[in-house]
């Protein structure tokens, strides 16, 4: 059984596509080298990440399948689904073989999973844009901790960096141990294992309190609808949403 391993980056993954394509191989699995469990029946091949190669794959996708599909694949790569590489690989195989006819065939067994994954990643991206809550810490930086089910941090930083270009801030994804750091509209990602965010400033606690007051005052009493609320604002996210915590 042939297994491709790569460095875990999207570019690295594109190089796996290049590898399979140029060698005419059909790998049984594509997996990030880090954390891979080796089994005796596996033949591992480490695929190097080479710019010229992934640029060619990128150009190929743009040319054959269009910019929107490129964005879709980019987003799906942020998914935390363990077999995302193979789903993307099969999708691309169809796409390269049949062009846009394939990507329009949204019910095809190799196409549908990516459509669904895209929906799921997109929803999570949107939720983080809605629910990331910043707190002002004494050093003058605004910090938000998020716990998304997919690793969507790279997909939301553009939004926050533009909007909050007047305040330095950090968005910390505690699930995927990744931090997005931004100042004056620029941003970059950094691995952040066990990052410890200092407690909010005194001022900030006051605004959290005011926000809770607003949150409770805006609801219409007697029209409680817990199901609807949780449908839009899932409970798993409440831990990082201050208005969902009991009043101080």
């Amino acid at each position: 059984m042939l297994i491709y391993t790569y460095d875990g980056s999207f570019e690295g993954f594109l190089c796996c596509i290049f590898e399979a394509y140029t060698r005419g191989e059909d790998p049984a699995e594509i997996a990030a080298a880090q954390g891979l469990q080796y089994r005796i029946d596996q033949e591992l091949r480490g695929v190097p990440t080479i710019e010229e190669r992934w640029q060619r794959v990128r150009a190929g996708i743009h040319h054959k399948l269009g910019r929107l599909t490129w964005q879709k694949l980019r987003a799906c790569f942020c998914a935390s689904t363990p077999d995302k590489e193979m789903l993307l690989y099969r999708y691309l195989k169809q796409g390269f073989a049949r062009g846009r006819v394939a990507t329009d065939d949204i019910l095809h067994p190799d196409i549908l999973p990516i459509e669904e994954l895209y929906r799921s990643v997109g929803n999570e991206q949107q939720r983080m844009i809605m629910f990331a809550r910043f707190a002002h810490i004494p050093e003058g930086v605004y910090c938000a901790t998020i716990n998304p089910k997919h690793s969507v941090l790279p997909l939301i930083m553009d939004h926050f960096a533009a909007r909050f270009n007047v305040q330095p801030f950090i968005v910390y994804d505690e699930v995927h141990q990744l931090a997005g750091i931004s100042e004056r509209g620029e941003w970059y990602l950094s691995a952040a294992e066990g990052l410890c965010i200092p407690p909010a400033s005194f001022d900030d606690q006051e605004y959290q309190q005011l926000w809770q007051t607003f949150y409770h005052a805006i609801a219409i009493p007697g029209r409680r609808n817990e199901k609807l609320r949780q449908q839009f604002m899932p409970k798993r996210l409440w831990k990082n949403i201050p208005e969902m915590h009991p009043a101080h």
Binding site: V101, A102, D104, D105, I106, L107, H108, L112, G122, Q125, Q126, I129, M130, F131, A132, R133, F134, A135, H136, Y142, A144, H159, F160, A162, R163, F164, N165, V166, Q167, R184, G185, D204, Y207, Q209, L210, W211, T213, F214, Y215, H216, A217, I218, A219, I220, P221, G222, R223, R224, N225, E226, K227, L228, R229, Q231, F232, M233, I241, E243
Partner: protein, 497 residues
């Protein structure tokens, strides 16, 4: 009074206002300014009643001199009163925005002293936000009845969206329930907004034209390679283009809206929708919001007075639970008018002037027009598809995309997120009607209504309503379910910004 108590009072007083959307305008972020606006709108939280919270929705003041019968802030009501200082409010908006709690501000007010004094206070707060605090996010401001056009113009240059409430679906009801408000002034101000917005659009277009012609001029004259970078005054044509180059300020770029209270007066759904359709076409409104009215205390009397001269007492005088469902049905119908190319007369008529509480309006229409169905999903046009109950705009697009590759069957349709419970009755796949179903009015009606009845469990709604015996001014934008979600979702949750 401390700030927290003030916020509590002025939020409580605004909570019945229906509009909380932050949609309708795209404004990119600018270096040095805080915030931007996305035309899809972004929600930031959901209240215990399930309604979305996008904006800090508050009143400038609830200390009102008027006495509108349906309103909790009317002068004669016993109520704690509070008023924001402009700077106090502006700071609150900024601090909330910086923390990603909100998308911006929704500012309304009771009438203190007189309309202009109140509106000028609002202008002060907005000016602080825009000019002193560099706020570039979304602002929706309500135009207080009786505000002079000059002050409206100032508001429009600061806010993204303005709205003037018509309050009630007919002028007769308005005269009766809101005696202090001049009906004429509501409509003249609305026309003023419409004209202000369209003039501004026109100015922007002309400005774009000037910019273009200047660009081609400078390109032709080779200004690009010139060290003065186009600031020279050598070319006569160029000079005049340059003086006219300042971009006109934008006036209410997200348009204007209004709100109607449902059930405080005897109009039928047909009359209400006719009124909305007229408002949309005459005043080019972006939205009409509907709000279910819940009578309590001395205001309950007001309704009994109406019941006597009303033809259909059940709905016009229904309890709050019925009004809530009605509000929901009106929103759905409004949606059909704006995005599905339906006309009011297709949905209702003077002989059948009420929507069915058990059926969504598209199902109601389809059942009355069974001769148009079933349609073949593999062949139907987009316009035909969106008229099928259970198929929304998104669903129709997916169908058209998917059928290019393969013929669709009942099983594959479900994967496209079509609401099959409803759609199955009105379609064929590859020429065949779904086996086990009977294409016949009564069985369809029975199946669709029992689904609805299960879903919204009337008794429960009724109980909830009785538990809340408060007087409501404006009722919330009830959340739509099912296929109507699609458009709404994309309006609230624009993925791309």
């Amino acid at each position: 009074m401390d700030g927290e108590r003030k916020l509590e009072i002025l939020t409580g007083a605004a909570k019945y206002d229906a509009a909380c959307t932050s949609s309708g305008v795209n404004r990119s972020a600018l270096p040095g300014l805080l915030g931007n606006a996305c035309s899809g709108g972004i929600c930031h939280s959901f209240a215990a009643d399930g309604r979305c919270i996008a904006l800090l929705k508050v009143l400038m003041s609830n200390d009102c001199i008027y006495n509108c019968a349906y309103c909790a802030n009317r002068a004669s009501a016993e109520q704690p009163r509070a008023t924001f200082e402009p700077d106090e409010l502006a700071r609150l908006v900024i601090e909330f925005y910086r923390r990603n709690y909100i998308e911006g501000l929704f500012l309304s007010s009771g009438v203190t002293i007189d309309a202009d004094t109140t509106a000028v206070r609002m202008v002060q707060a907005l000016r602080l936000l825009r000019d002193s605090y560099g706020f570039n996010g979304y602002i929706h401001a309500k135009v207080i009845p009786g505000t002079s056009p000059q002050v409206i113009d100032q508001l429009g240059l600061l806010a993204d969206r303005l709205s003037i409430n018509v309050e009630l679906p007919s002028t007769a009801s308005l005269a009766r329930l809101a005696p202090d408000k001049s009906i004429d002034s509501i409509f003249t101000r609305m026309a003023h907004l419409r004209d202000g917005i369209s003039n501004n659009r026109q100015n922007l277009l002309e400005w774009k034209g000037r910019r273009e012609s200047r660009r081609s001029l400078t390109a032709a004259a080779g200004c690009d390679s010139c060290a003065t970078a186009g600031t020279c005054t050598g070319l006569a044509a160029c000079r005049s283009a340059q003086t006219a180059l300042a971009r006109p300020a934008r006036f209410a770029p997200a348009g204007h809206a209004t709100q109607m209270i449902i059930g405080a007066s005897p109009e039928s759904d047909y009359e209400i929708l006719k009124a909305s359709a007229a408002l949309y076409s005459q005043y080019r409104l972006k939205r009409v919001f509907y709000s279910a009215y819940v009578p309590v205390g001395d205001a309950a009397l007001l309704q009994q007075g109406f019941a006597a001269d009303s033809n259909d007492i059940t709905l016009a005088n229904g309890n709050g639970a019925v009004q809530l469902v009605r509000e929901h049905r009106l929103y759905q119908s409004d949606w059909l008018l704006r995005f599905y190319n339906f006309s009011v007369d297709e949905l209702l008529n003077p002989d059948a002037p009420f929507l069915d509480p058990l059926l969504d309006p598209k199902c109601l229409w389809a059942l009355r027009n069974l001769d148009l169905f079933p349609i073949e999903v593999n062949r139907a046009s987009f316009d035909e598809l969106i008229r099928v109950p259970g198929i929304g705009v998104l669903g129709a697009r997916k169908i058209i995309q998917a059928r290019k590759a393969a013929q669709l069957s009942f099983d594959t349709l479900a994967a496209l997120r079509i609401v099959m419970k409803r759609a199955q009755w009105f379609i064929t796949c590859k020429g065949k009607y779904r086996s086990g179903l009977r294409f016949e009015h009564d069985s369809i009606y029975h199946s669709l209504t029992s689904e609805e009845a299960r879903k919204r469990s009337y008794r429960q709604l009724h109980k909830r309503e009785q538990a809340s015996r408060q007087l409501s001014l404006f009722e919330g934008e009830f959340d739509h379910k099912g296929e109507f979600d699609h458009k709404r979702e994309s309006e609230q949750i624009g993925l791309l910004c």
